[in-house]
């Protein structure tokens, strides 16, 4: 399917929303990194710079009653589900009114009222948990789905294997994404696995496997659409590998000197936002004026979010004691 016909199908409103969220993801992170370097944040910062197309191209298609379990680099997906930039800032600043109330930091967050599952550090732990959510959706015959995102590194863990297999054998409505940014911290893909793609690795579970250019938001969109439809139709899980580039260190403390310059050059050439803008323009889907307006709006939103995040109240020490157990 050519880009033009996809764009026509998707329609300009959704396309603009996609652009908006990709930019919001990017601008937000550019800004939070500065805040980090200013020494204002207690914890680390993990960025999805260059990877924005994955979360956005997929989560944009969800309905209210669908679920996501994003990875630590899928900020755009959080935004799409309704988490506000302000909430993310409150989270980063460790404030009381953040989604995790200061109990956890950075992208270790979620908001169940928005159907955003929570991230646990231990890589791939969300894979079986997402399957469990999907099991309930299946039981309830809701026609809903769960999107679960993990990095390439996470796919080497046992929980990934067990979760994929369980979802397949129980035919659960879940879509597993591998955000393959070709590195797990400093470890390149070829030191993680002996197959060229994560899709190869995912082929042994009995679910459809696709491998797409993760820097092409339309490619992600199309592949995700099919997988989501399968899930809604009761045809079980799917796996989608999105090949992308981590245009940053592992965290903002990491200068990524172990990444060869060519990698960053290639990633830059394939910048998902620039490419999407070019496509939109080629298809007459967006004007320069609209983009300028959008950028300004996002900048303002991000500034506002940072200010509100910073201004938020810290929790008091003894608040730490409450809520270990549910009533």
């Amino acid at each position: 399917m050519g880009d033009t016909s996809i764009m026509e199908e998707v329609g300009s409103e959704t396309l603009h929303r996609m652009l908006y969220y990709m930019k919001l993801h990017r601008f937000y992170e550019d800004r939070i990194e500065i805040v980090y370097r200013q020494g204002k944040l207690a914890g680390p910062v993990f960025l999805g710079r260059g990877q924005e197309a994955v979360g956005v191209g997929s989560a944009i298609q969800l309905g209210k009653d669908d679920y996501i379990f994003p990875s630590h680099r899928d900020l755009g997906a959080f935004f799409i589900r309704g988490m506000t930039p302000e909430a993310v800032s409150l989270q980063y600043f460790g404030r009381r009114d953040g989604p995790m109330r200061g109990r956890d930091g950075n992208t270790h967050m979620g908001d169940w009222s928005l159907n955003i599952g929570l991230f646990v550090s231990h890589m791939a732990d969300t894979v079986p948990v997402s399957a469990g959510v999907a099991l309930v959706l299946k039981m309830r015959k809701q026609g809903n789905t769960v999107l679960c995102y993990n990095g390439d590194g996470a796919t080497s863990r046992g929980d990934w294997h067990e979760g994929l297999n369980l979802a397949a054998v129980m035919q659960l409505p879940v879509v597993f994404f591998c955000v393959n940014n070709q590195y797990a911290y400093s470890t390149p893909l070829h030191k993680q696995m002996a197959v060229p793609t994560v899709a190869d690795r995912a082929s042994g579970y009995g679910m459809p496997v696709d491998s797409v250019d993760g820097n092409d938001v339309l490619a992600v969109y199309v592949s995700a659409r099919k997988a989501i439809q399968r899930a809604r139709d009761g045809q079980g899980p799917s796996f989608i590998e999105c090949l992308t580039y981590r245009m940053t260190g592992h965290g903002s403390h990491d200068d990524a000197r172990y990444v060869p310059a060519e990698f960053f050059e290639e990633g830059k050439k394939k910048d998902p936002i620039l490419r999407f803008v070019a496509k939109l323009k080629a298809g007459d889907m967006v004007t320069d004026g609209e983009i300028t307006e959008m950028d300004a709006r996002i900048m303002a939103e991000v500034e506002d979010a940072m200010a509100k995040g910073e201004a938020g109240a810290l929790p008091e020490g003894p608040e730490a004691l409450a809520g270990v157990f549910a009533d």
Binding site: M100, R101, R103, D104, H108, G110, W112, G117, L118, V120, S121, H122, D125, V127, P128, V129, S130, A131, G132, V133, A134, L135, V136, L137, M139, G158, D159, E162, G163, N165, L166, V169, M170, G323, V324, F325, A326, D327
Partner: protein, 322 residues
Amino acid sequence: MITYLEAIRQALQEEMRRDPNVFLLGEDIGDFGGAFKVTEGLIAEFGADRVIDTPISEAGFTGMAVGAGMMGMRPVVEFQFSDFMSCAFDQITNFAAKTHYRFGVPVPVVFRAPTGGGFNGGPFHSGCLESHFVSTAGLKIVAPATVYDAKGLLKAAIRDNNPVLYLEHKYLYRRVKAELNGEDYVVPIGQAAVRTEGDRLTILTYGAMLHVCVDALKQISNTEGAVELIDLRTLVPLDKETILTSVKKTGKVLIVHEASRTGGFAGELSAIIADEAFEYLDGPVRRVTAPDIPVPFSPPLEDFYLPNADDVAQAVRELLAY
């Protein structure tokens, strides 16, 4: 008269009838009825959607139960043997236990853990894994010793909005029996039971060791009213009040558990007592536990390993004489 095992099944069945959100997950629990036949017949009544056979994927189905619990379901996970929880350790301690604290969303999951030795199961089928889990904030732990409690604590665990580790002792499955009139009751989590009252020595125990303690007390003559035997029933959250009230009365404590000594739950009990009841103590806080070795297979070795009535009686005599 029904057995401890049947009481567990009854609790499952009644809760599944009562609440459509309750469902079961585990290896061979469907048509086969589970390795110990605890779930026998349940698939016939509730169907394969609520009695779900899984592959051998302890981490995987534990994680699934967590996800389902977050969705408001009440999954009950059967580990074929409690020992295999070690494969799900990460999901239990990090996802199940920490989610409410971090996220504010309840994770009402029950982990049924067939526990303990006494049947020559060897090092991988006889474990008392509570020692590994008591330090996990956010995880409740219960350990029924009687038929009545087996049913009532399981019901309470299923209705609880938190992950609950339910230690069902394999040795008791078919060895203890009682009349239950089919009534619907819960044994509240967090309440110990005083099994016999006494004023000279408190015994704290739980699970199969309760029966060992009862046997031990039968061996000892002329001690009517001396020993207060407390069945903890819940390890986390602990009924400190019952414990401290008793210890303050008796002044002496013996703690008995089947788990090996170092790092066992007796340590926690001792620490509480040595701090909060120190002024009332008239003697050392003693422990009768298994030694610090894996559970050995061969009968003479396992017999040696497991704390028995003689060991307990001996310790009781020493403490009473102290």
